[in-house]
Symmetry: C2
Subunit: 203 residues, 2 copies
């Protein structure tokens, strides 16, 4: 019995390559492939695949949000996240979203086919090195609001901008940022953003 797979990935070249390559496997069939996160749910409703392979960085909505919506709309479709960045926060978010698998694009192709088969058989598959990192790191020390403010701090320059964007007093923004900076062991707003982003705590 063949495993029916949906492929969501924004890099056209990579998506095409994976589609043909997975199609070569005798027990795997790629029934649809999309390049945007907001097309995942509707495509899954139409094709009812056994399994959805989701990238995280995508236009529209990201793969994690797509996974969350997919779990509600089409619970019969299992989710495997395949992403470039080994951020532990991504892994946490993926697990919370009900994903059954989490792989890095650094892994060899054979591992992907294996993972697809295992997940289709009901198992869960997680990149081992990332699992270790996630366990040794723990969750985010930031409060929800601190996370919001720090997330708003990437890109938009001054504190006044962030305050306007969040309908807050500039002083409050400064306090939240100050707390975040200390908790992350950074010395600058920019450093704090980098650290939190690299750990995936800003998703």
């Amino acid at each position: 019995m063949t495993i029916r797979v949906l492929l969501a990935e924004d890099q056209t070249m990579f998506r095409g390559a994976m589609a043909t390559l997975l199609g070569l496997e005798p027990d795997i069939e790629v029934v649809a492939d999309v390049g945007r996160g907001d097309e995942v749910v509707s495509a899954c409703e139409a094709f009812r695949p056994d399994l959805a392979l989701l990238d995280i960085e995508m236009p529209g909505i990201d793969g994690l949000e797509a996974a969350r919506r997919l779990a509600k709309a089409v619970p019969g479709t299992k989710v495997v996240i395949v992403t470039t960045f080994g951020r532990t926060g991504y892994l946490h978010a993926a697990m919370a979203a009900g994903a059954a698998g989490f792989l890095l694009k650094d892994a060899p192709v054979t591992e992907l086919a294996d993972a697809i088969r295992k997940v289709a058989a009901g198992q869960r598959v997680i990149d081992p090195s990332l699992a270790i990192a996630a366990l040794s790191e723990g969750a985010s020390p930031l409060t929800p609001r601190e996370t919001d403010v720090l997330a708003a701090a990437r890109g938009h320059g001054t504190i006044a901008d962030i305050a306007r964007q969040l309908y807050l007093s500039p002083g409050t923004v400064r306090n939240h940022l100050s707390a975040a900076i200390q908790k992350l062991g950074a010395r600058t707003r920019t450093e704090a953003v980098e650290i939190a982003e690299q750990k995936g705590w800003l998703v």
Copy 2:
């Protein structure tokens, strides 16, 4: 006559997929594939491929630097840059490095095979949308030193850090940064870094 190709790309999964996929083409043979930029030259010296497919973002040295070295060490090997980011500065740098082709991973796979054949036949291939953007944008307005300082400003937080790293007076760093901020139309050091990085002027 088959075209002998070397593949340099750090994402294992993507590299493997491209290798098998290109190998399926009757007139293309992938003779070697590496995952680090600093392995490109030695691999090309060993295998003497007709063409090298280089990613830009790679551990070791990046694809542009690899292209520069390759042009000196193994001039018989033509270079095609394949990258994720459509930054015009990348395109300029690639042309200056003597690349014969420049493609985005957003393009379909068929386009890559076509490009390989055209480049092997002596033509040059450039992503058309990027070529337009590059022409309408012009070169970097930053002086060499401003570029250095701005490049050192990403990551390392305070001005004092940058000054130490570049053996400069903090005042000089501030002046260079101030000039860069104004030339780029930014309002913050961070904004300036983002803008310059996004255009590929920090390479």
